[in-house]
Amino acid sequence: MIDFDFIRVKTLDKALKFLQEKGSVTRLLAGGTDLLIELRGLTLDDPAAPRYILDISGIEELKDIREANGSLSIGPLTPHSKIASSKLVKRYAPCLAQACSTIGAVQHRTVGTIGGNIINASPAADSVPALIVLDAEVTFKSAKGERRSLLKDIFIKPYQTNIQPDELLTEIRFEKLPEGAKTSFIKLGRRNALAIARMNIATVVILKEKIVKDIRISPGSTTPMPDRIRIAEEVLLGKVPTKELILTAGQKVSEEMIRRSGVRWSTPYKKPVIEALVARALRQALGMEEGAIEN
């Protein structure tokens, strides 16, 4: 394990002050479930090796799940276990509760945080597609000020965000889904527990008199940066959702995957599977029955 100095801060102000001076040689410690694995992989002369580990896990003001004017506000230090079991999240953003309940195993969810999941920026992150279909916004603070962004806009490439060394994620916020909104989240892994998502999918569907009024589709581990796939959403928007249209939406997602990522060694597997996964997630959200054979 590499050497570093360990600094613990209890308030946001102290954290921002430290990052203003030393942010570029500091890594943040929240839950540690991604950080410690990364640190183990570093050698002493690695340029990515941090000089300081800043333990922010004790900053109480970053740990809440709150209702705020028709929105839910989630502190980045909230552990996945708390989000998965939160009455507020289960009611107003069920796909997020489901997503967080699939991350790692019990041991990871106890201490791992939603902020850490976002900042690690893995294309296979589970909370991220769920947050994207909630049109989540994130807030970053620094000693210099504050900025807000749509969550999906912070990802530059796999494992990289546009977060500056002096910035700290302080809030994740999204509007509560209206009564009657339907959501789904499906994770495909090599095993049922403690698995990285081979692919995952989050959807939100809002119907008005049987017609799709609003629909949001975000697949994970499918495109280099997570996003909503509008071209698939448009297949169903303003229409009565039928099994045929749902299958077409799935095909649009696979076409978009290939357009953005190119044809890769994984494409023969991912193409039919993402189509089926999207269709299954939409049928699940809409409460449609699963047939024995996909037609």
């Binding site: 394990m1 590499i2 050497d3 570093f4 100095d5 360990f6 613990r8 410690l29 540690g32 479930t33 410690l36 694995i37 640190l39 183990r40 580990i53 333990d55 896990s57 004790g58 276990s81 790692g104 195993a105 019990v106 041991q107 990871h108 106890t110 201490v111 049922n192 527990a193 403690l194």
Partner: protein, 156 residues
């Protein structure tokens, strides 16, 4: 690398330790406190052999820096025995043949204890989910699930 001072409670005993900041909780427990019941199976949080409880919740001690545990209470497998009497989970594991090589056992028992502390009468599905972060290469898990069922309702 500046050493840090850590105040921590382990198995009910208070410690004030001066440690290297790059110690994981696992290193603190095994190397410094000589509590070698907790095992390192993979070091990357994928096997659960290092599972201990912090403030009542199960975590992988290979993924936690010791410094993160300031002011916290840690419970390891050694903390289950009370005045020479084994915990019902430990008894059940022995009686049900749930211990073969024994390497996964401490972590498995800590995950089981975390379950029973919150849910004294779990279903078989709930038991399987509670231990889904712990890998066993010997038993095939059946005896482990039976042992946890047997211990359920008997733990205080």
């Amino acid at each position: 690398m500046k050493k840090i001072v850590l105040k921590i409670k382990v198995n009910g005993k208070k410690y004030r330790l001066k440690i290297n900041p790059n110690f994981r909780l696992l290193d603190l427990l095994r190397d410094q406190l000589r509590l070698t019941g907790t095992k390192e199976g993979c070091g990357i949080g994928e096997c659960g052999a290092c599972t201990v409880m912090i403030d009542g919740s199960p975590i992988n001690s290979c993924l936690v820096l010791a410094g993160q545990c300031e002011g916290k209470e840690v419970l390891t497998i050694e903390g289950l025995e009370v005045e020479g009497k084994l915990h019902p989970l430990q008894e059940a594991f022995i009686n049900q043949g749930a211990v073969q090589c024994g390497f996964c056992t401490p972590g498995m028992i800590m995950s089981a204890k975390a379950l029973l502390d919150h849910n004294p009468q779990p279903s078989e599905e709930e038991i399987k989910e509670a231990i889904s972060g712990n890998i066993c290469r010997c038993t095939g898990y059946r005896q482990i699930v039976e042992a946890i069922k047997g211990a359920a309702g008997k733990s205080g």
